[in-house]
């Protein structure tokens, strides 16, 4: 299935855990420092210089060729680091997709408005293949990995819907089974 950004609430509500999707459109990258600054903007009532609709937890490896930025490698980073900031952030958006790896603890906050897509961690070269160009970059003072890169992507994926907007999370199911298996082995 192809997901076109910006995503609407209707679109995200159609997605269910286990669905395999490809994303086309615009993504913004954000990790620890970008999230902290986004929250600063929100809390002080300032307008953000970009629109938050499709967030990619990624700190890309980028090279500047003349005036243009070229993304060389851009796989996802560990999403769980952004758990707390995301809980606040999600109060301020109506519809969203978050792409990352390793899962998050934001099932309730995504309910009715967003999904979390798992992309293969470390697949930086494969991800870069789906990035058509860098449309813009904000907050480069945070450093290359922590800046907000606005990326144009085409058929970015395959990603797996790992947390949907209906309260389902693959991670929770897996964690439950893992805990049972551990107890069976070690008591």
């Amino acid at each position: 299935m192809e997901v076109i950004t910006p995503v609407s609430v209707d679109m995200v509500r159609k997605l269910e855990v286990g669905d395999i999707v490809y994303v086309t459109g615009e993504l913004i990258t954000a990790r620890d420092k970008a999230h902290a600054r986004i929250l600063e903007f929100i809390e002080s009532g300032r307008d953000l210089p970009f629109h938050i609709n499709a967030i990619y937890h990624c700190g890309p490896l980028v090279r500047k060729d003349g005036d243009t930025w070229v993304v060389l490698s851009a796989g996802p980073t560990t999403s769980a680091r952004m758990n707390e900031a995301t809980k606040v952030l999600l109060k301020h958006v109506d519809s969203v997709i978050i792409i990352g790896k390793g899962g998050m603890d934001v099932k309730e906050e995504l309910r009715g408005k967003g999904v979390y897509l798992a992309y293969t961690g470390g697949a930086g070269a494969l991800a870069a293949n789906a990035i058509r160009r860098v449309r813009n970059v904000y907050w480069l003072d945070l450093g290359m990995p922590e800046a907000v890169w606005v990326l144009e992507v085409k058929r970015f994926g395959p990603c797996v819907v790992a947390i949907d907007s209906h309260g389902n999370s693959i991670y929770e199911e897996v964690e439950r089974r893992v805990e049972e298996n551990f107890r069976r082995m070690f008591g």
Partner: protein, 273 residues
């Protein structure tokens, strides 16, 4: 006799190689995982990994955007006499590799969090020197990503808890879940001291991942029983190898370190004479 320039260029070449291609033993382990895995989502992720590895090698670009922290292991032949500062040559090699491979600037001051921009800083790169017999200089680079490093753990166990080592290792992997980009490699250091066991765990990750002893296989089976699967989305293959290195320790101690390595077990070596 190797020169300063030889060392600089070798460090650059080794980082380029480690970042863009995996060694045969690691690829073999990943392919086997793809064959063995039955879960569809797990298979998609393993296929993504294998496709990614192929693209990185063909295009000569880093397979993962987290090009890691630079770690260099040196085996220095005791008959060698170098007329330059080896450490300085390695530092220069890391700077040059950062520009040319290129590597993502990852090194930051631990408190101010300011990025140095060239992967060099206080005690960075990490250089481990071991004096060995002969007249050769062997350099091994291991760019270590943070996603997996962050899931590592160390415990000063009681001497009577030898039979609990397996449980501790499995517990560390369970807690890590999907965060370290499974399928992972698990380096384990048993014995030595607090710092020594951590170093043993890291060095264990340099070994051939397809050669494991009985204890290593036993712990590997227990880890894969958990069902975390590739990327923590469920499946049979959570780890591809458990690699243990031991060192004598104090009779009153049992230090155990677990160093987690993501599927991108990147390392490259070269011998200079």
């Amino acid at each position: 006799m190797p020169t300063y320039e030889d060392v600089v260029e070798t460090v650059v070449d080794l980082f380029r190689k480690a970042e863009t291609e995996l060694s045969d033993d690691v690829i073999m382990a990943l392919r086997r995982a793809y064959e063995e895995e039955e879960n569809e989502i797990a298979k998609i992720n393993l296929k993504n990994i294998l496709r990614n590895v192929k693209i990185a090698k063909e295009k000569r670009i880093p397979m993962c955007q987290d090009t890691g922290l630079p770690i260099v292991f040196v085996e220095l032949g005791r008959e060698l006499c170098l007329d330059f500062d080896l450490k300085e040559a390695i530092v220069e090699g890391v700077r040059k590799a950062t520009r040319e491979v290129p590597l993502r600037p990852n090194a930051v001051h631990p408190i101010t969090r300011e990025n140095s921009g060239d992967n060099v800083g206080i005690r960075m790169p990490i250089v481990d020197v071991e004096v060995v017999e002969g007249d050769r200089l062997k350099l091994t680079v291991m760019p270590k990503g943070a996603g997996s490093e962050n899931c590592s753990a160390l415990r000063m166990m009681l001497p009577g808890e030898v039979d609990k080592i397996k449980r501790f290792v499995v517990e560390v992997v369970k807690k890590a879940g999907g965060k370290p980009c499974p399928p992972i490699f698990v380096g384990v250091g048993i014995g030595s001291t607090f710092d020594g066991c951590a170093k043993l765990a890291k060095k264990a990750l340099l070994r051939n991942v397809n050669e494991m002893n009985e204890l290593e296989l036993e712990i590997l089976d227990a880890i894969n029983e958990l069902g975390i699967g590739p990327m923590g989305l469920g499946g049979k293959v959570t780890a591809l190898a458990v690699l243990i290195e031991c060192g004598h320790c104090h009779t009153a101690s049992l230090p155990v370190a677990v160093n987690v390595q993501c599927w991108a077990n990147r390392r490259a070596s070269m011998v200079l004479r």
